[in-house]
C-alpha cells in the first residue's frame, strides 16, 4: 500500500470518531454507564471523580445527543436521578471502541 493511501485510510478511520463521546469526561461517564444497567448521579460523581457542575453539564450534552436517559424519581421520599444508557448510546459506545481500536492499530504500525 502506498504511504498516501495508508494516510487516507487512517484519516477516514479517525474521521469516524464520535465527537460527543471523544471527550475524556464524557467517555468516563459512558464507560461507567456501559458496565451497569443504571446508576444515579451520586454514583457517577463518586466513580468518575468529576465535580457536580461538570458532571451535570456533560450529562446534559449526552442526553441531548440521545445517548443517555435521565429519570428523576422519588425512592422512599428521597429524590434520585437515575441515569441509563439508551440503546443508541450503547451502540455508539461500542462503535466508538471499534473505531479507536482501528485507529490505534493502523497508526501503531507506522512506529
Amino acid at each position: 500500500m502506498k504511504p498516501e493511501d495508508k494516510a487516507q485510510r487512517d484519516g477516514q478511520a479517525a474521521a469516524g470518531i464520535d465527537r460527543i463521546i471523544h471527550e475524556p469526561a464524557r467517555l468516563l461517564i459512558l464507560t461507567h454507564l456501559y458496565v451497569v444497567t443504571e446508576a444515579d448521579f451520586v454514583f457517577l460523581e463518586r466513580q468518575t471523580g468529576l465535580t457536580r457542575g461538570n458532571l451535570s453539564s456533560h450529562l446534559s450534552r449526552l442526553e441531548e445527543g440521545g445517548y443517555v436517559t435521565v429519570a428523576k424519581k422519588f425512592v422512599e421520599r428521597v429524590p434520585r436521578t437515575v441515569l441509563r444508557l439508551t440503546d443508541n448510546g450503547r451502540e455508539a459506545f461500542s462503535a466508538y471502541r471499534d473505531t479507536i481500536r482501528a485507529v490505534l492499530s493502523t497508526k501503531g504500525k507506522q512506529g
Binding site: 451497569v36 451520586v42 463518586r46
Partner: protein
Amino acid sequence: MSQEVDLTKVERKAYLAYHQDGIYDLLVGLCFLSAALGVVSEVIAAGAIAPVLAILVAPALKKAVTLPRLGYVKFSPQREQKERMNMTYLVALLSVTALLGMVVFSAYSGDAAWQLWIRNLGIIPFGFVLAVVAFALGLLYDIRRCYLYAVVIIATFIVGHVLELRLWFQFAVPGLVILVVGLVLFIRLITRYPKVPAGEIHEA
C-alpha cells in the same frame, strides 16, 4: 488514548466500592469479640445473639450509611447472575460447614480412633471451618482482605492450641483484627465521601 478502556476493571472497581465500607467487617469483628466475651463470661447466648443481630442490622446500615455516600447502582444482568451463583455456592459451603461441625461435635460422644484424633485437635477444626468460610468469601466476592482474615483465624487457633492459651484468645485476636480493618475502612468512607443531603436534587 494510548490504551483501550478496560471495561472489566471499571465494573470491578465500581462493584468493589460497595464492599469497601467496612460495615460487614465491623459486624463480623464484633461477632468474634462477643464470642470471646461469651467464653469469658460463660454466657453462651452472648456469642449466639451477636450474629443474629449482625444479620438483622447489616442491610439497614448499608442503606443508611453506604448508599447515600456511594450512590445507587443496578449492576449488569451478568453481575447479578454471578451474585446469585455466589450465594448458591455460599449456602452450599455453609451447609457442608454445618455438616462438618456436626461431625466434630459427634467426636465428643465416643472413643473411636477418629474421634480421639479430632478431640486432640481441640478447637482447631472449628478455626479451620471459619478460615475456609473467610477464604471462600474472598474467592467468591473478590474481597482480598478476606484471605488475610482466613490466615489470621487459622494461625490464631493453631497458636492458641499449641500454647494452650485460653479459649477466648482464639476469638478475640481475629475479632480485633477484623474490627480494626473494618473501622479503618468505615472511617475512610465517612471522611472521603460525605453524605449527600437527602433533599438535594441533581439536575442533569
